[in-house]
């Protein structure tokens, strides 16, 4: 909300002055500390104190100039000033605004003596825009015409005095949703008055009423008290719409509203000043002298003030909430909608030039109902925001009277006949408002805040913001409080405790510290995640963060089978499902880098993937945290991925994990979605499986290999081969580790035996290796594949696999015979159990 300092100062005598920057900064800081966050501080009206009223005495041509003229003005007390002016919208005798030499206009525009075409200009005649009074820059500001009698014109008088406003400051305040009272000047002024210990001076309108009593001129009726608790009306006759006084227009503009005519302006002024939205109807055009509030029928329409046709009603009911499907309309006595209650009035009865009588509506609506209707019709207005958050139900009469007073004053100022205020109000009040009562226990408040305030002090802090104490006020264990009517947010003790803290000052509360009684540490899976991340960066991979809400098309390109978790309200079709895997996102990340001439990258990501729970719909989806590594450097391929996996397994101390290349689709072991080989190269990828053992079920912890070339093509990657490693973090955490018990290393020398076998292509090297290891038995320290060869000397469908077996005994140096026996055992085992032969 935009709050001019001058307006606030009218309600409470603030010390801050727009001319004193430090005082304004101090005030802004207090607003901040009250929770009224100042998002902007704008100085306005610069120059208005220096610009003076002057009368045009003489206008003359300048030789050789056809755009500018020489103007002589009287700036009071017979002092004449000669200026050069380029505007043509005035004539001799007009009263204009003269910025003398030495004055400064908005935008730090300093007026200096200038010579144009040989004529000395001793100042400037100002336009509305130059003074930031209006957007008008077609000509200069003309404040009076000759002949028109205007007693307020006094030549030489500063423009600020003439207009009634000058240099000012406007605070742009962010008002929290729980403080609707501060969507008004009075509300902000009340908080400030309380903070500074100043009196709050509420407008107390006094009216001269005459003629026919209002209830005889119009009626009001409430059909839906669950949506509208009270509606009051005021009637004014003899209206002649005119412009509002300069000060009213100025304040509306500074607060961000457009002045229209004195009736509409008065309505808006009341809303800004008191926070009470209200609506003036042209009584003559209303059609039936009365207002009725009822729920809109399904499909009912209304043309609102902005000229749009709005469709009302017909919303589905939400749950068993009877208010959830209702839009509220204001109707005339013939039951025709004339306004959307609390949101916007209808066009049919807009106040215009011909308006002669006004029926003012001031109402109290159910906040959520207005909010829902506003959202339903897609209209968020100054009124709807205030109604939705809650308006003070006890100031309706004041607001109505204030409106009448402003209309009458404006008419007088404009020189039009003053309207007649019909005596009394028209009132429908089916649900009278009662104030909330709350018990505040000072010890509880002190304990929660960490303060030691006396009950008296708490009472003193709360009184200026409107809390009233019940009882004789003697300090008991508890304060019985009546909550101010303008604070719909306060319903229980803690709400009052917050007000105690706020009015006392958050910044004055002593800071204490409490130590946690426990030792903080990462849990096992969090530590694992961190170690894994570091292993992956050690492999040269940079960490990516790709979106989790993705394009279903991309997921399908990456081999996902569909059945995605769909976002009901996506922001774009390209971001409409939850990712089922990490492949698509990383493919796009590689593509991005490729497109920026960095194709050879390794990237990894840690993040959740989502899958529908098998079986019944409507269940919480499965969410699995995965880590995926994409290897897209030159020469990276499935072999690189395997090596990466071995680094990971070694670094994490994993044991027992098997690489299953042939099992393309492993059965689900526990019904949960698990890592699979979709999107991967069928013949160059495998699953990482912890096999079942004893009680333990089989667990697929990941996949390793190469991205399917079709996927690379689909994502437009130029790479020949791209390696891939994906792990499920929860399952990885559950995978068995190397035993943590130490095994003594032998002090005796070891012996190496090299064995090269010619092996059928169908036999995994791992099978040969395992056979060798078993055959070497206890003496086996390690078996390493050190050469793979295909070609000359080997039959088709065979390759040579060479292993180095290191043998060692823990308690003696191996004898040649032992080594020879072990070698024989290895050969026999391999040749005996596998389609493999020792190469000569």
């Amino acid at each position: 909300m935009r709050a001019p300092l001058s307006w606030l100062s009218e309600l409470t005598p603030l010390a801050a002055d727009a001319r004193d920057r430090a005082s304004v900064v101090e005030l802004a800081s207090e607003l901040d500390s009250l929770g009224l966050v100042v998002e902007g501080t704008d100085w306005v009206g610069e120059g208005l104190d220096e610009v003076v009223l002057a009368r045009v005495l003489e206008i003359g041509a300048i030789k050789g100039a056809d755009k500018i003229r020489r103007v002589v003005v009287d700036r009071g007390e017979g002092e004449t000033v000669e200026v050069v002016c380029g505007a043509w919208n005035f004539s001799e005798g007009d009263v204009v605004a003269l910025a003398p030499v030495g004055s400064t206009l908005p935008g730090d525009f300093r007026i200096e003596r200038r010579t144009l075409r040989g004529v000395v200009s001793n100042g400037m005649l100002c336009s509305g825009r130059e003074l930031e009074l209006s957007d008008d820059h077609a000509g200069i500001l003309v404040l009076g015409r000759p002949g028109a009698h205007d007693g307020s014109i006094e030549l030489g008088r500063p423009l600020s005095e003439h207009l009634g406003f000058g240099l000012d400051v406007v605070f742009d305040l962010a008002v929290e949703p729980n403080r609707p009272d501060c969507l008004s000047m009075v509300g902000v002024a009340r908080d400030l008055a309380a903070r500074y210990g100043l009196p709050l001076e509420l407008p107390e309108p006094s009216l001269e009423e005459s003629g026919t009593p209002a209830p005889e001129l119009a009626t009001v009726e409430i059909e839906a008290p669950e949506l509208c608790q009270r509606l009051i009306g005021r009637v004014l006759t003899g209206i002649r719409p005119a412009p509002s006084p300069a000060l009213v227009r100025r304040r509306l503009l500074l607060a961000g509203m457009r002045p229209i005519n004195h009736v509409v302006d008065a309505s808006n002024y009341v809303m800004l000043e008191l926070g009470q939205p209200n609506h003036p109807y042209d009584l003559g055009r209303l059609g039936g002298s009365g207002l009725k509030v009822r729920p809109a029928g399904p499909g009912e329409t209304i043309v609102t003030l902005d000229g749009e046709t709005r469709l009302l009603g017909g919303r589905p009911r939400r749950g068993d909430d009877p208010l959830s499907d209702k839009d509220l309309v204001i109707c005339n006595a013939h039951d025709l909608p004339v306004g959307i209650a609390g949101v916007m009035g209808g066009q049919s009865n807009e106040i215009g030039e011909e308006t002669g009588a006004v029926l003012l509506e001031v109402a109290r609506f159910t906040p959520v109902a207005v909010g829902r209707t506003a959202r339903h019709v897609g209209l968020r207005t100054e009124a709807s925001v205030r109604f939705e958050r809650g308006v003070d139900p006890e100031q309706m009469e004041r607001a109505a009277a204030r409106f009448c007073q402003l209309v009458v004053e404006a008419a007088t100022a404009a020189g039009v006949p003053a309207p007649t205020v019909a005596p009394g109000i028209i009132d429908a009040n089916p649900v009278p408002f009662t104030r909330t009562r709350v018990t505040l226990r000072p010890p509880k408040a002190n304990a929660l805040l960490g303060l030691e305030l006396s009950p008296e002090l708490m009472g003193d802090l709360l009184a200026p913001i409107g809390y009233e104490r019940v009882g004789d006020g003697r300090p008991e264990a508890a304060l019985e409080l009546v909550v101010p009517s303008w604070r719909p947010d306060v319903s229980r003790e803690v709400d009052v405790i917050e007000d105690v803290a706020r009015t006392y000052g958050y910044r004055r509360i002593p800071r204490t510290s409490r130590r946690s009684p426990s030792v903080g540490r990462l849990d096992a899976s969090q530590s694992l995640r961190r170690r894994l991340r570091r292993v992956l960066t050690g492999l040269g991979a940079d960490e990516a963060w790709t979106g989790s809400i993705v394009d279903p098309g991309d997921e399908e390109l990456a081999g996902a089978p569909g059945g995605f978790i769909t976002v009901a309200n996506p922001m774009a079709a390209e971001e409409s499902v939850m990712r089922a895997g990490l492949l698509a996102g990383l493919m796009k990340a590689v593509r991005h880098n490729s497109a920026h001439r960095n194709p050879w990258v390794r990237l990894f990501e840690v993040g959740d993937v989502f899958a529908a729970r098998p079986g019944a719909g409507g269940m919480l989806p499965e969410e699995h945290e995965r880590v995926a590594l994409v290897l897209a450097r030159e020469l990276d391929d499935a072999a690189g991925a395997i090596r990466a996996w071995r680094v990971v397994a070694e670094a994490l101390g994993l044991a027992e994990v098997e690489l299953r290349q042939e099992a393309v689709s492993a059965p689900r072991d526990d019904g949960e979605a698990e890592v699979d080989l979709r999107g991967l190269h069928r013949a160059r990828s495998g699953l990482l499986v912890v096999p079942a053992r004893g009680e333990r079920a089989q667990s697929v912890i990941g996949a390793v290999g190469e991205v399917d070339p079709a996927v690379l093509a689909a994502f437009g990657l130029p790479h020949g081969r791209v390696g891939w490693l994906e792990l499920d973090l929860v399952r990885l955490a559950g995978a068995p580790r190397r035993p943590d018990e130490a095994k003594a290393v032998s002090r005796y020398p070891s012996s190496d035996v090299d064995l090269a076998f010619s092996v059928d292509e169908g036999v995994p090297a791992a099978a040969v290796e395992e056979t060798v290891r078993r055959a070497a038995g206890e003496l086996c320290e390690s078996v390493q594949l050190f050469d793979v060869y295909r070609g000359v000397g080997l039959a088709d469908g065979q390759r040579s696999l060479a292993f180095r077996v290191r043998l060692c005994a823990s308690d003696h140096t191996l004898a040649d015979a032992e080594v020879a026996a072990a070698r024989r055992a290895c050969i026999e085992a391999v040749e005996g159990s596998l389609p493999a032969t020792l190469r000569g």
Partner: protein, 365 residues
């Protein structure tokens, strides 16, 4: 190296002069030393040694004359000759060491590698900046004795809103602000992408193990159109403390401790009133602007302060929803955006750099 002038002084016995001509010894020594000094490589040195002490050397022939001397003179002369030999050998050793060193140097020089001509090899990768900041924050919380708690990104209405005292008509609960999921039959439970990490607070409270000292880092989702300062997917961290007698003063002190650990002791904090449905009293916390150190600049809109996050005392309604007695227990929560913090600390002008995954960006941190 022994100076040559030592020679006469160290001559052991003037008595032997009668038998061996000391001048002759001096000549031999000088000649030998000359040869040794002149040797420029090890082969030449060997040759010089041979010339000085070898079988055909003057020294050897002199040595052979020893037999012709009487016993006493032989003893003296023998000693003198041995000492001469030792001196010459010492000089040769000394020279050898120098030459060996020079030869080694020469060999190494030939082996020179221009260390700047080495071709680039693989480098370690980089953790995402958001990960780095998150881990740093986690470490501070761990240091404060907090557990690190996590929860799912898909949540129910209860955990995201209801239990957090967020009223049904709150804008956050609308489909304008929060992503909802379509799962199975209509009318079934509303699943959504958590709009904050606070549902984990509810999980922690429902767990029923009190007191709680926990930090909750994680990913959250809001329907914000991506721009320089918004992403629909972002990271948050929040702290939750629930214990007996926890006060607003403890909250302010804890934020102080935390901010000092992250930003340094010179950074101050302050609280100002704010509104969140799940805390009361609620506050926003600010830290001194790190650009102007509090004197006011454009970054902090001349206030000297930068807003970091929200905080407050756990609302009794949240305790009531989770079966915790607000008369016995009290607590506070505070949270902020990890991405925003990273942005602020590293002068990143556009949040979208975080999700572009351009290695030219990722490798800077």
């Amino acid at each position: 190296m022994a100076p040559e002038s030592n020679l006469s002084e160290s001559s052991p016995s003037p008595a032997s002069e009668a038998a061996l001509d000391p001048r002759q010894l001096g000549e031999i020594e000088a000649e030998a030393r000359g040869g040794i000094e002149d040797a420029t490589d090890l082969a030449a040195l060997e040759e010089a040694e041979r010339e000085a002490l070898g079988r055909r050397s003057r020294f050897s022939s002199l040595h052979r004359t020893l037999g012709t001397l009487d016993a006493a003179a032989r003893k003296d002369a023998g000693r003198a000759l041995n000492e001469l030999r030792r001196r010459i050998e010492a000089a040769a050793d000394e020279r050898r060491a120098i030459l060996e060193q020079a030869e080694r140097e020469a060999r190494l020089s030939l082996d020179r590698l221009d260390l700047t001509e080495v071709l680039p090899g693989p480098l370690p990768g980089h953790l995402h900046l958001v990960t780095q900041v998150r881990e740093e924050l986690e470490d501070v919380f761990v240091g404060m004795g907090y557990e690190i708690a996590e929860g799912p990104e898909v949540e129910t209405d209860w955990y995201s809103f209801q239990a957090l005292n967020i009223p049904p008509d709150h804008p956050a609960r609308s489909s304008f602000d929060t992503f909802f999921l379509e799962l199975g039959e209509p009318g079934a439970e509303n699943y959504l992408l958590r709009p904050h990490t606070s549902p984990v607070q509810i999980h922690l409270l429902e767990r029923g193990r009190l007191p709680i000292y926990a930090a909750v880092p994680g990913r959250a989702y809001r329907r914000d159109t991506p721009d320089a300062t918004h992403l629909p997917v972002f990271h948050q961290v929040e702290g939750l403390v629930v214990d007996r007698g926890i006060s607003f003063g403890d909250l302010a002190g804890t934020i102080d401790t935390f901010v000092h650990a992250i930003f340094g002791e010179e950074v101050s904090t302050r609280l100002r009133p704010a509104y969140f449905p799940f805390t009361e009293p609620s506050a926003e916390f600010e830290i001194t602007c790190r650009i102007c150190h509090g004197s006011g600049c454009r970054t902090c809109s001349m206030t000297g302060w930068i807003e970091l996050g929200g905080c407050g005392m756990v609302h009794p309604a949240v305790f009531e929803a989770t079966g915790v007695d607000p008369e016995e227990w009290s607590g506070f929560a505070f949270g902020f955006g990890i991405d925003r913090l990273a942005m602020m600390r590293h002068g990143i002008s556009d949040l979208r750099s975080f999700v572009e995954n351009d290695v030219r960006f990722l490798r800077q941190f």
